[in-house]
């Protein structure tokens, strides 16, 4: 086993090594209509205590990326390539049982729809306690205690009573908080949050974002925050990865990326946020539609919609570090110092 570097090495999280490093991940769905390359060469890293925003439009592969990390890709999907290094250990190679030990324990996930993630016929305490007991050998009472504490932590008043409730007795925002509490039960090192506030109101969203921020800061948990809402990421994340058609097209710190995006797609995305536009004036929009993942054109997938596309774009651009700490998958990026100089 030692032969495969970093495979089963006992995890000693040094401050320098990132919590998660995804390298060239490829997850494909083998459907009747053909192979859907939902994730096709995704790479990014998330450091300890950092929040990484994963943005991109619907269908660009954000959720599948999240599921790939947790090893929850179902038939007909399969991880066909790449590495998912969690503290250096490649999750893609783990056996199901080993993966199960990690899930909910050291890596947790929060799903998009707060109405659907909790089992409607089980009480909240059951759903929380079973999660505790799945990974630690404690008594039921201790497990309940932990559940109660965690519920309190996410700001649910009188957790004792609430534990005995069924999910339908909660509002959407509270359910999402329960889901977050479940994710936090084992103080995971990594949380994948898949659009956890998209279905919620602005006011409730704000409450949850506040909760999350506090937690990351306190526990040093790394977080991948999946969303298509740039404005949320702007306020929350440290780093940003932008996905387009199954690939990360840009990756870098939030500040730089949002202010001076490199990739034309990122540029277009930011441009279409209404508040970035003058009131009443036409919004800047990206022309055209997202291509089908079934038959992507060769080369840069964005080129048919890109204002800067050229012949060269018919080749595949690599995800290169174009500026320090900032990588993009483009031959003709924006905001390059050279261009600025020119």
């Amino acid at each position: 086993m030692a032969a495969s570097p970093g495979a089963v090495s006992p995890v000693s999280a040094t401050a320098s090594s990132p919590t998660l490093e995804v390298r060239n991940l490829q997850t494909h769905f083998f459907t009747r209509a053909g192979v859907v390359k939902a994730v096709d060469g995704v790479s990014f890293t998330v450091g300890r205590g950092k929040v990484m925003g994963l943005v991109g439009e619907s269908g660009s592969g954000k959720t599948v990326t999240g599921f790939s990390i947790l090893g929850l890709v179902d038939e007909p999907g399969r991880i066909v390539g790449g590495e998912i290094l969690f503290h250096g250990q490649n999750l893609a190679r783990l056996k199901e049982e080993e993966m199960r030990q990690l899930r909910g324990n050291r890596i947790a996930m929060i799903f998009q729809d707060p109405m659907m993630t909790l089992n409607p016929v089980l009480r909240v305490d059951t759903q929380m306690i079973e999660t505790v007991l799945a990974h630690t050998k404690v008594s039921k009472e201790e497990a309940r205690q932990r559940a109660r504490d965690t519920l309190g932590m996410v700001g649910i008043p009188s957790p004792d009573e609430r534990l005995k409730s069924y999910p339908h007795q909660f509002s959407g925002g509270m359910r999402q908080r329960v889901a977050i509490a479940i994710a936090l039960l084992h103080r995971p090192e990594l949380i994948v949050a898949d659009e956890p506030t998209t279905a919620l109101d602005v006011t409730i969203q704000a409450q949850i974002l506040a909760e999350v921020q506090k937690l990351c800061a306190q526990t040093g948990t790394a977080m991948i925050w999946i969303t298509h809402d740039l404005t949320v990421v702007a306020g929350l994340a440290d780093e940003l990865a932008v996905m387009y058609a199954g690939r990360v097209v840009e990756h870098g710190p939030v500040n730089g990326t949002l202010d001076k995006p490199l990739h034309p797609y990122t540029m277009g995305l930011i441009g279409s946020v209404p508040s970035r536009n003058k009131r009443g004036e036409p919004l800047r929009q990206i022309p055209g539609m997202t291509p089908s993942l079934l038959n992507l054109p060769v080369g840069c997938a964005f080129r048919t919609r890109c204002p800067k596309a050229q012949d060269k774009c018919q080749q595949d651009p690599p995800l290169g570090e174009l500026l320090p700490g900032r990588r993009a998958r483009c031959f003709f990026p924006y905001n390059m110092p050279a261009e600025a100089a020119a």
């Binding site: 179902d74 909910g104 993630t117 409607p120 016929v121 059951t126 079973e130 799945a134 479940i182």
Partner: protein, 323 residues
């Protein structure tokens, strides 16, 4: 809750009233009971006497009103044939039918749930296809035919089980039950299986469909994301959810099981209500037919109510109004 019960009660009364009218008119339309009951040696005078004795000389609406009047006092009339209170006749035979129907239901659950679960969890495996194709047999083969086959194989050829009839009974709660003795169970086995066949298929299908749908739900994936063992995901998260439709339908089917026991009871000479009703229809014994149908409707309504209550107990989302 009280409103809910009250509403159900009112509805039941209406339904039973409607039922009694339909049956009265229906039986009247089929034919003349005296024609059937009377001895061939009789003459016209005897016939007239019999008509009078059975109260059939009055116009139908008067017969109905007097029935209604008696029914309000708890008297559903006396059987033309047996000269016993119709209700008593039915109550005597009810345990036999109930144990048959319950036996069949339990059998259906014991056999159907595991098979359905397997077929739902592994929809592509050859065994699942076999289970599903096999389950079609459950409702394609006519009950009476399967019944006779069972008798031929297990009683006539192999001699393992008694061919027909009900075994020795034990009196509990003032009723005679046969499932408490070994011989009684042996007698029960074949008819119950015969009756269960359709329900086994039903349970398999419901379970499979339920499992397949539930497996796609986000909360199942979330349960896996929590790191639960596959067994816990299946047996707690999935199973409890599919139990709801299964229990509902199986409960509701109990009513039709009792109705379908007509066929099974006549094939296996099982002395239950089903046989009674067929015999009564054959001789147009109207008081028994009416009483039987009233009982069936009452039973059905009760079962429906119980199912609804069970449903609300199983599925916390459903609350009978007004908490």
């Amino acid at each position: 809750m009280s409103v809910y019960l009250l509403r159900r009660l009112l509805q039941s009364v209406l339904v039973m009233l409607a039922m009694s009218v339909i049956v009265f008119v229906g039986v009247f339309a089929i034919g003349d009971p005296v024609e059937i009951l009377i001895s061939p040696d009789a003459d016209q005078m005897e016939r007239e006497r019999a008509i009078k004795a059975l109260g059939l000389d009055l116009p139908l609406w008067m017969q109905y009103l007097s029935f209604l009047g008696n029914a309000l006092r708890g008297d559903l009339g006396r059987s033309f044939v047996f000269n016993e209170p119709a209700l008593q006749l039915i109550l005597q035979r009810m345990p036999a039918t109930l144990e048959l129907a319950l036996g069949a239901t339990i059998m259906a659950l014991i056999i159907g749930l595991p098979l359905g679960l397997y077929a739902g969890l592994k929809p592509k495996s050859p065994l699942s296809s076999t289970i599903m194709a096999g389950s079609i047999l459950g409702f394609s083969l006519p009950t009476f035919w399967v019944g006779l086959m069972l008798i031929m194989v297990f009683a006539v050829q192999l001699g393992w089980l008694p061919s027909t009839g009900r075994g020795p009974t034990v009196e509990v709660l003032g009723m005679r039950w046969s499932f408490l003795t070994w011989d009684g169970l042996r007698h029960l086995a074949m008819p119950a299986l015969n009756l269960a066949l359709f329900k086994i298929s039903l349970v398999i299908r419901l379970t499979r469909a339920g499992v397949r749908e539930t497996m796609l739900m986000d909360y199942v994936k979330f349960a896996r994301a929590k790191g639960l063992s596959p067994a816990r995901v299946t047996y707690v998260h999935v199973f409890k959810n599919i139990l709801i439709p299964v229990v509902t339908v199986v409960g509701l089917e109990l009513g039709s099981t009792i109705a379908f026991s007509v066929v099974t009871e006549s094939v296996f000479a099982w002395p239950g209500m089903g046989k009674l009703i067929i015999d009564s229809i054959n001789v147009l014994d109207r008081p028994v037919i009416v009483a039987y149908l009233m009982m069936i409707v009452l039973m059905f309504i009760t079962i429906n109510l119980l199912v609804d209550l069970a449903y609300s107990a199983l599925d916390p989302r459903v609350r009978l109004e007004n908490k």
